[in-house]
Structure formats: C-alpha cells, structure tokens
Symmetry: D2
Subunit: 334 residues, 4 copies
C-alpha cells in the first residue's frame, strides 16, 4: 500500500462537493491533487473560495483540464458532466468518477451499466457491488438521499423481502441544495423553518428502484418518499417502513450478515441522531419492529457518504487501496 | 361583545403553555387574569420566569388557587390535571380548560365525553365540533400533533373517504417537549440535529383515531405516524397521504366547504413552509395529488393552535365571544 | 381616540421592513392600508410574497402611487427614498415616514432637521424628542443599531456624562441585511457562524454622534463600535461601556427618570437575553458597574423597534393616537 | 518518528473535552488509548456516551485509574484536578496534561510555574513557549477564550506595544459551557438567542494578564473583555482593539515573524468567519487598522485549539512527535 500513489484532478472544484472532495484528498495519504478546475474561479487561490483551506494548500483554480492524472472527479451540475465527456477527449486510461446524476441510470432502468461517450459507468455504491466497482473504469457516484435509502433497504431486497409498499420520510440539510443562492437557502427563510418538497416524486427514486429491482427477484412494490428541508447544514436522516413477517432478531441477523465486511455501515441498538455521522463517511442503521412493520432508520452525511466521501471510497476501491484510506474522519459531534 | 368581560385563572403558569397563555390573555380585550398559580415559583413576579413579559404585567405567582374566576386553565403535566380535579373542590360554575391529555380520550375510545371528578369533558377541537364546545362546561384541549393531523384529515373522515392506511410524517419544535432540561433538549445536542421518536406509536394517535372513527362510518384503517424532533423551537409540519380516487378539484371543494366557516384554517395553493404560521393561531393546509395518492400538508404553531392559542379559542367559544378575539397575532415571519 | 382613522400607503412593500409594516398596520385599530406599492411584485396578491399574511388580507401590490393617503411609508433602499421624493410630487398635506437612511443626518451633522425636496425631516426617535415628532410633517426613522445604541446612551448625554470613549459591541440578526440573496445570507454559510464587519466604521455612527452631541454640551468623545453578524434572524443586542464616576444607584435613577414616560423602554435587574424582545417593540436596558466602568446592555427587535415598529410608533405620535396603539405585540419568546 | 508510540489515559472521559480528546487520540498514529476513566459511566461502552464513536472503538469506561500510561489527560472539572493529584499518587514518570484551570496561574500571578502536589505545571500555550513545553513534565492547558485572546495579542506584548487599554469582545458556542444541563443551555432558550455574561470580569483574564505581563516589560494596561453566548455549538470569535502607532504593514510584519514557525496560526487578508476553523486546531488571525486603532480578529474552535486539540498539540511536543501529528483535521466547513 505504501507504494501506491495517484494523481487526481477535480473539475467543478469551486462548488460544495468539489470543496469537500478537496478537504478529503489534501489529507489522503496516497493522493496528490494535480489540479482543481473551475471556470468561474480560475486564477484564484483555492483558499479564497474554500476559506477553511487557508494554510492547507497553495493550489490555484485553473481553467485548463490537465490530462496527466490517474483519476478525474467531475463535480459539475447535472447535465454538465455528460456535456463535458461528449465535448472533451479524455486520455483513455484516465478513470472518471462523476458526482452528478448523469450516468446513474438510464431511461429504461433495466441496464446496470450506463454507457456514455464510449465510457461504461458503474453505479458506485460499494455496499451494493464492491467487486464491480473495483474493476470499473468509470463510476457514477450515487445521490445522497439515494444512498441513505438504499443502505436501509439493500438486505431486504437481496432476500426478496420487499413485499409491500415502502414508506420513507427523510430530512436533509441545506448543503444538499448546493452553493447557489435561492429563496429556500436564504438564512432568514430557512432558519427555524421546514417544508416538504418533491413529495412522492423525488428524482432519486429512479436509481433506488433500479438498484432494488436489480437485487430482488419479485416485482418491487411502490417506494413512497416524502423529503423535507431541515434547518441544518449537513446530514440526512431517513425513516423507512414496510410490512414484514420475520422477527426483529431475524432481520438484525440478515442486516449484520449483509454488512459484515463493509467498514462504513454500523448498527445502533438505540435510536440514532443525525450528528452521530456528521463530518464522517459512516452510515448508521437502526432496526425496530412496530406491530407488523419493520422500521429502518438510516443516517449519513450528505456531503460525505452521500457525495464526496463515497467518491473517495470508490476511488480507493478503483485503485486497490484500503477502502477506508483518507476517510477516518473526526466527527463534528456537536 | 363590548360588555363581556371574564376573569381567568391559570394553574401551572410557570411552564411553556402557561406562559404562552399569559402572553395571550394579557392582551385579550375581554379577559382579566385573576391569578397565576405555580407551586415552584410562588411569590415571584411573573416576569422573572417569563422574562419577555417585563413591563407587561405586575402579577406575581401564587400558590393559592382562587375560586372567584369564570374559567380555570390547567397547564399542568399529564396526570396532574386529573389529580388536581380529584383533590380540589372547584366552584361548580367555574369552567375548566385542561391542556393536558388527561381528559382527551378514555381507554375504550368509544365515548365522545370523558367524565372525571364529576365533570364531563368535551374534546375542544372547534373545527370538529364547535357547537358542542360552545355549550360545554369543561374542555379537554387537543394535543399539538393531534391538532395538525386531525385538521389534515377531518374532511376526509366526514365523507367516509379514509379507505386505506394513512401515512403521516411530522416534525416538531423543541418547545413541544416543554421546559424541563433533558439530553434531547440540550442546545449542544439539538442544534443542527434531528431524530425520530415514538415511531408508529405516538400517544396522540389515540385521540386522532377516536375523532376520525367518530366521524367516519366505515372502519378506520391504520394511521401510521413518524414524528421527528426538528432543530427549531416552534411549530409542527405534517405530511399525510392516503389512496384517494377523486380528483384534486373535488377534494379541494370538500375541504374548502368543510372549513368555510372556520377562521383559523387557510389553504395555500403552493407548498407552505412552517414559518407562515409561527406565532399565530392559524392552520395552513395544502392539498396535492401524486398518482393515486392524496397528499395533505398541514402546519400549525405547536404552542398556539397546538396548545394555548386553541385554549383561548375554546374559551372564546365557551363565553360567546368572537372566536378570533385576542388571537389576531402578528406572525414572527422570520 | 375611537374616532381617529387614517389611511396609509406603503412604497417598497415587498421587502422585509415593508412586510413587517404591513403585519402591524393590518392589525392596527385606527389604520386602513390604502395601497402597497412594489415595482417588482405589482399585480400579485400581498400574501404571495409575505406568505404568513395568507388569510389576513386581500390586498394586491400595485405600481401606482396613490395620493389619497394621510401617511406614506417609504420602505425603499438607501438613496431610493431621496430619488422618489425628488421625482414624484406628493400631495402637500401627506405625511411621510422614511425608513431609509436618506434623511437621518446631513454631512455637516450640525443640523437637527434634514431638508430634502422641500420637506423638513425630523429624526424620529421618540425617546429623544417626542414633542418634535408629534408636530412633524416628515419623519426620518432611525437605523436599527442606531436605536439600540442611542437608547443605551441618551440619559448619559443629557447629563453631560459621556466623558471618555464609549466602547460598544453588538450582534444583529440576518433580517438586518434584508431580503436580497448574498454569500453572507446563505443558510449554509450563516448557520452556526459569526463574523464581524464594518469594525469601528459602521454607518450608523453618524446619526448616533449627531444625536448625542446634540444633547451633550461637552465635546463628545469617540464612540467605538464592533458589529457582529449573529446566526439568528431577529434582534440586536448591544453592550456599551464607558468610564463613569457615579454609583450604580445614581445612574439607575438617571435612567429611570429619563425613560419614565416612555412606554417601550423597560429595565431588567438581571442580564437580559435577546428573545425577551423578539417580535415586540420594546427596548430592554440593563445597567451594571464593573470597576469604574458603567456597562449598559440594550436589546431590541431590529425589524420592530429598530425599523417598522418604530415607524408605527412615530405614526401614532404624528396623528395624536396612543403611542402604543397597534404595538402591544405578543413576543415570540422561543 | 515512526518508532514512537505512547500510551495515554483519560480521566473524566465522559464529558465534552474528554470525548473530543478521544476522537483525536483514536485517530492519532502514535498513540494508544490505554483507558478512559469515568466515575459516572464506568462499565459502559464508550460509544454509548459518545455515540459518534460507534464503530470506532471497543473501549469501555472504567473507574480504575491505571498507572501504566505515558501521559494522563485530566478532563475533570475545575477544582477536581487539584483534588485528584492531591489524593492520588501517580507514577513519577507519568506526564500530566490538565485541561482544567487549576494549574494555569496562581494568586500572585507573578510565577510562570504553578506547583501543585509536587508537580510543576507549565502553561501549555505552544505559541508562547514551545521550548518550555517540550521539556515539561506537567502541562496546564490554557482556557478557550484565553487562547483566542492571547494569540491575538502575543506579538504586541513581545514588542512592548500594548500601551493603552485593550478592548475585546468575543462570542462562544454552547459547548464551552460543557455537557451539564442548564437554563442557558436549553435549546428552546438558546436557539436564536444571545446574551452577554461575566462582562469585564471573565475568569480567563487572569491567565491572559499573567502571560502578557510576563512578555511585556512595560506595565500592562487594562484588558476589557465582553463575552457573549452565541447560538451555535462550536467556536470562538474575538475582536480586540487598542491604540497603535505603527502602520498596518509594520504590524503584519511583526505578527508574521512571530508566528512563522507555528503551524496552526494562519493569517487571513479578508475578514474571517468562524466556520473556517470549526473542527480544526487552527487559529486564524486578521489584522486591520481603523484610525489609530489596531483591530485583531482571532478565531478558534473552542473544543480543539481551545481545549482538546491544544492538549494533543502539547502532548506531541512533550514526546518529541510532530507538532501537527493527529491534528490534520477536516474542517466541517458548513
């Protein structure tokens, strides 16, 4: 392991996921950040935009996409990743990890691999398909809510146990909406406030259904999802429930077996709270039975396990490094 | 109206609902606060405990329960209201409005009136049974989540339209947990945090089911409720959905007809956010259809329409005053 | 009093101070809102912009400035008020209350009256010069920090007791920065964050110095002010200290005499906290002595006593109404 | 460096600073946590109390103080550290780092070394006296506000440039008040709220004055400090100003020279905001001149550079490890 060392480039480095990726990669023992691309900030020191990096790096944003990197992270908006790959010829051996939704699923939902611009993209949820990730060339990094909900349901789907509709509600922090200024990201509005949005039609349901139906042989029932905007900055907490015949002990056994080799998934025997995972790459799961309902609570940091942390986890797997390398993060806790 | 003037007493005036009631009654044009009872704070000026009332009142907390009032508000804990009425002989003509859950329902759930200590308690949800409230002697004031959820579902139950399970998620502010210090009300814990609790077994489901089954002739299906602790102080936002055959226009018609004479219920054509109602006695409802699901969003201020504001609304009705008297409140808005 | 009834118009009604003024005037017993002007929102219902007013008003924004009002409130940006009065001929008898800083002081700082467009503006701090306000035609409504700091220092200046530099620090909520979207009003930035700004050169020092030097015969020493952005929406808390020879009892006597007839200023014997005044028109003062320093803490709601509430207070005085009319507001408290 | 490895014990491991220390030491490449002592939580797994450590450690709290450690961290309350050292015989070679205020200064304020229980304590501010720290046996870890204020003023004192009173205001997060439940740490109170406390008489002024007077030959003028409770959990931001004759360029030169070899102090050319340092061990300084005042803004994370991070920094120095070892932390940023 000591010998491995790779060069990484970031496109769209001035946004939230780009900045978070930088915070991780600058401390990663086996990675050198070769360049950080940004059209809007080219020429400025990185710490002028990500001001917490003052003292940590002398990098400047560039508007030139260098080819001499082993892996390229795309932190651009939905649609822009596809455009970039179409317009720009990348060095063939370069691996790509895309954080947008452009290559997570296709319209038919029935293919595991999304091909675009002559590149085949593997859906990068290591807890679903770590081996495929390891041998992939290109990764489509999952969505944040999609990660929290899939990790709550993967073992059920694997055992053909999603037999009736699943009801999910979830709350996300403001960083999920990115850096752009908007009415619902204005402090005076969002502080002490909450609202639902995209009720029962959130776009992440596509990738969730694709994954679960891919695992489960029986036809997947409806997944109903009510997302909320929470008055906090980081994190996602989801509660999912569905009818379930087995006992709590049986389901705990299924889950702990499923996740036994996955270093970022942990089980809490008591009700978890969001800040247990904020600023870490963990997912904490909690299982309970109420009547004939199985209730699963799942929490992640939307910018880490839900975005840039998972991207680094995928990078580690792509290059044969320790899955947790650079990801043993101190939680904020408070 | 000008001639009406009543005397009110408050028991348990040092807590959150007691304080909120005081804030309302001190500005109510037809009410004089005769006394504020508190065992723990007796002898202190009211503004030492409710420090925002500095300059508004010279009242002191007392540990003597005076009988010469027209209405007595019980703002004591669950269990303590029943105990007080059992141990203390109240003047027969005195009306009682109890904010605890002691008289909201009984075990059998099949009686509309809960009788305790020779007093019959009417469930004080004016939008359910305003006429019964007007002629009542004693009022059991509804719970906060119970108010938000019932107001979302009353028109459906009235028309026998709750035909399949209802799925509700809701977020509440910290004042819902009252004034007592606890791990989950500690600022360092709750700030930027969230968690669910009492998933699928919240105690307010009793009164909700009693009400809805009382209205609807067909057997009431399951009401599933996932409550969340939100990192804010005031307010409740609930999202409820259930299968529904009629069109959006038809359901809007049902709802607007049902609430046409109720001054505190309003409809928003766009997705509402919590702060539209904070520091007011309003309930704002929003209706939408997604596939064959009807989705109802309801928002209230948990301390006002969910507690002390509704208590004043009930008082207004009990004494033949304008239903909105003393309740035209300036929203905090931000 | 019952007979008085006036018509009011608002220019710039879509912003924060305009909305807050509306919330007050719609509940004011002696005022009718004749129109609400907004260039950007003309044609829309008021409640679409100020969504908490749903159910409270059927007014629409207009782009026509009607002349048939008794008082016109200018809630437009700094500079725009002056421009409006220069370009637009107002009915001579119409009174004007301007919430911008355009007419609060002039460059020389040595005139009490600022004249613009043939209108003489009186600085509308009732606790400084209530009688002048009563007989004024046009009011320049004070700034928010300026109000909090002046109310802390007026009695000292009146008694020639500001003899050495005054050191002030103060924290303001996000609504002080208005409705416009900016990096420092983005939720993800401001939540859990703080920073200072305009250290020792805040623009409100002009009006503060003009007022204090106008009261005090001796030359006014420096006023040093460090403002902070606080992670909350409403309110201002300031701490001021200066060398002071008299005893605490003597200064308390001076202050309570000075403010004895002013209904919105109250004294707290213990350290106050901001939420005692949020959503009210109050100013709470606290006095203490530490060594030979007098320390004065002052708190107001920046949108009420610091803006729209004070504007209504001035309106009440201009028209011979009760000073507190429409301003007995329920505090948010939490 | 690779060869160094030490064993550490923590007393008072269930509190905030103890937990934060654990979060650091568990990831420190050269430290093994031998035991975590807690009287109140003995027998429980560490992750039951510090729930974000779920999956990170299998340690249990113990009520036995083991002697076989190289360094013992005391994270107990003020007074309790002194009591422990008096009552308990520690192995002579064991180094002690105390996070309480018990050994930071003595009444006379004129000794650099505080001796207690036959142990000499060195004040552990590496930016003041790194060489003394390196050769120390026992460290008194500085207070949080004391760290932020001293780092703002050290270069001035070193050059005899504190010639007139210093005026400091500062805002701290709720974790500064620790884990105990209290009225001012209740979420419903503190959310959206602020207040000052201990105005001009904060206890950290003792250690600040001792340090500055120890550096500066001329008599130290008054240090006036106004602390605020901020509605956030982590961090301290201080603004200090004093009369100053030199130019901005000259003072920048002094400061950058002073801190050139100190890895955790950084300079921002623009106004910093608190979240630049939250969850890091950094101190960011900003210098400006306004008239003849020098204004210094300093920010730290109160639990890291202001407590447990600085304790680890001191440990690194005590044992000849890299000063930054285990302290390259990912900022929370949002």
């Amino acid at each position: 392991m000591g010998g491995v060392s790779i060069k990484a480039g970031i496109v769209g480095g001035a946004g939230y996921t780009g900045g978070e990726l930088l915070r991780l990669l600058l401390n990663h023992p086996q990675v050198e950040v070769a360049f950080v691309h940004s059209n809007s900030q080219a020429g400025k020191p990185v710490y002028e935009v990500h001001s917490d990096l003052l003292g940590d790096t002398d990098l400047y944003f560039t508007d030139t996409l260098q080819q001499e990197v082993d892996v390229l992270f795309l932190c651009v908006g939905h649609g822009a990743a596809n455009k970039l790959l179409t317009e720009q010829q990348l060095k063939p051996g370069m691996k790509v990890i895309d954080l947008s939704q452009d290559f997570r699923w296709n319209e038919s939902l029935n293919k595991e691999v999304v091909t675009a611009s002559n590149r085949d993209f593997i859906y990068g949820l290591p807890e679903l398909q770590r081996e495929k990730v390891k041998s992939a060339q290109n990764i489509a990094n999952p969505g944040c809510f999609a990660t929290a909900i899939q990790l709550a349901l993967l073992p059920l789907a694997q055992h053909n146990l999603i037999l009736s509709e699943v009801h999910v509600s979830g709350i996300t922090g403001s960083t999920g909406a990115g850096q752009s200024l908007s009415a619902t990201s204005h402090y005076s509005w969002r502080s002490g406030n909450t609202s639902n949005y995209k009720v029962l039609n959130h776009q992440h349901l596509h990738e969730i259904r694709r994954t679960l139906q891919g695992l489960q042989e029986k036809v997947l029932p409806g997944i109903n999802f009510v997302p909320y905007r929470g008055p906090f900055t980081r994190g996602i907490l989801c509660t999912s429930y569905t009818h379930f015949d087995l006992s709590l002990e049986e389901v705990q056994e299924l889950y702990s077996t499923y996740y036994s080799s996955h270093p970022f998934v942990h089980f809490s025997s008591s009700t978890p709270d969001l800040k247990q995972v904020v600023n870490t790459n963990k997912c904490i799961l909690h299982l309970q039975k109420e009547g004939d309902y199985l209730v699963i609570t799942s929490i992640i940091d939307n910018l880490l396990k839900g975005a840039s942390g998972q991207a680094v986890q995928n990078m580690n797997l792509l290059f044969g490094m320790e899955e947790t390398s650079g990801l043993k993060l101190k939680a904020t806790s408070f």
